[in-house]
């Protein structure tokens, strides 16, 4: 089948075509660039939201409730959900769907699970392009769910316009540990499992961390902290409102355009870097085996070896 046909099927609302396009993206199929160049002009209107936070905080459960609320407004929703791949076998168990089972038969909800396949940053290498494919397919809302992340996984901030950081109470040290990195990219904080005895404490900790930032930079908006319960859906309505308000404020202040310009720029650079990395990898494997031998034998240091490969490209 030609790409054009596949692209056309996707645009006409064929969900199998959307699924196939995402596979091509994930497998880095040589047809991917052509497909993306057809789809890209059709993207940019959707509400894009990223959910991130440590494993077990309740991201999938909250997303399930959020889908329900968006469906009540008849909005079409795409979810890109990332779980870790084994660094050894490349295999993965993708289980985020379990919490989303209520929406499996809704034709206006499309859920795609991805293994990160060694990609760093909390998303998979193909997540952003998959999100674009969903936008072109006609999704009004695209949700990115990162794999459980620690401090430094902040790529979701360039994929989504609004980032929600989900935290759970009873993990005081974890909240402390999250002070830098991921804490800085969140537009909205969500303390899930709000029925937990330490929920208010967790909220107070987050607030005090944010207040320090606010004091140092009074112009920066104070991110809202929403208490939720993934199991009952309590608070998710408020979360949805805050997400929508955030989008409106981004649009009104002109920050949406700025953010997107920065993230698109970053994407272009990272794509080019990835390509270069692959090329270097191939060089190293095919032609310069003896270079590595020299490194193994301590005749050549790793930095000189890498510079040699770099020069030859």
């Amino acid at each position: 089948m030609s790409d054009n046909e596949l692209t056309e099927r996707l645009l006409s609302g064929d969900r199998r075509a959307l699924a196939r396009v995402i596979s091509k993206i994930e497998d880095e199929d040589p047809e991917t660039p052509d497909i993306i160049s057809d789809l890209y002009p059709l993207t940019g209107a959707a509400l894009s939201v990223g959910f991130t936070g440590p494993p077990g905080a309740g991201k999938s459960s909250i997303i399930a409730k959020l889908i329900e609320l968006f469906r009540e407004e008849d909005k079409k929703i795409g979810v890109v959900s990332v779980d870790p791949s084994s660094p050894f076998t490349k295999g993965a168990i993708l289980g985020d769907r379990i919490r989303l089972a209520d929406h499996f038969l809704d034709k206006n909800v499309f859920i795609r699970s991805m293994g990160n396949r060694g990609h760093l940053g909390g998303l998979a290498g193909g997540s952003r392009l998959a999100g674009l494919a969903m936008e072109a397919y006609g999704m009004d809302v695209v949700v990115y769910e990162t794999m459980g992340v620690g401090q430094g996984e902040v790529e979701v901030a360039s994929a989504a316009d609004t980032v929600v950081l989900c935290l759970q109470p009873g993990a005081g040290d974890a909240v402390q540990a999250l002070k830098a990195g991921v804490m800085e990219i969140a537009d909205i904080f969500c303390i899930n499992k709000s029925d937990h005895p330490q929920a208010n404490e967790a909220k107070a900790q987050v607030r005090s961390t944010l207040e320090i930032g606010h004091e140092l930079d009074p112009d920066a908006p104070m991110p809202p902290i929403i208490m939720t319960r993934g199991d009952t859906g309590e608070g998710v309505e408020e979360l949805k409102e805050v997400i929508e308000e955030h989008r409106v404020s981004l649009e009104e202040s002109g920050e949406l355009g700025e953010r997107r310009r920065a993230s698109q720029r970053e994407f272009v650079v990272s794509w080019a870097m990835n390509k270069m990395q692959n090329e270097m990898q191939e060089r190293l494997e095919k032609e310069d085996k003896e270079i590595m031998e020299r490194v193994y034998n301590r005749e050549l240091d790793p930095i000189s070896a890498s510079e040699k490969i770099f020069e030859e490209i």
């Binding site: 199998r16 596979s23 497998d27 660094p87 076998t89 499996f104 293994g115």
Partner: protein
Amino acid sequence: MGFIILDRLSTERSLMAETTRVVVAKVGLDGHDRGAKIIARALRDAGMEVIYTGLHQTPEQIVETTIQEDADAIGVSILSGAHMTLVPRIIELLEENDAGDVLVFVGGTIPKDDIPKLKEAGVGEVFTPGTPTKKAVEYLQEAVAAS
């Protein structure tokens, strides 16, 4: 150590072809998922991406998941005895959705007499209790490679 692992990982990445994706599903009123979890883990360790659906899935939910996830195969785990109704229904729905190329294999307490009937309905293979996971993994690797 770090160098060695990185070297190994990136070599594998550049050799990576299409990753096999498998839906492992528990169908119907059947709460025993240890077998499903074991096979999911074995397939993961064989380098496949396993989409685990959780318990109590209907054939409709399983097929829709398979389509959205663009999976190559579905492993249906069933211990309830309703396999002669539920499994053929999954195959029927796959065909209705233009996804008849997806391989279906079954694991569970399936009486001997039902095995040929399931295969006739379109099931690729049936694994009964006691099957070494290795056998199921090898079967799937070969069947997916051949398709």
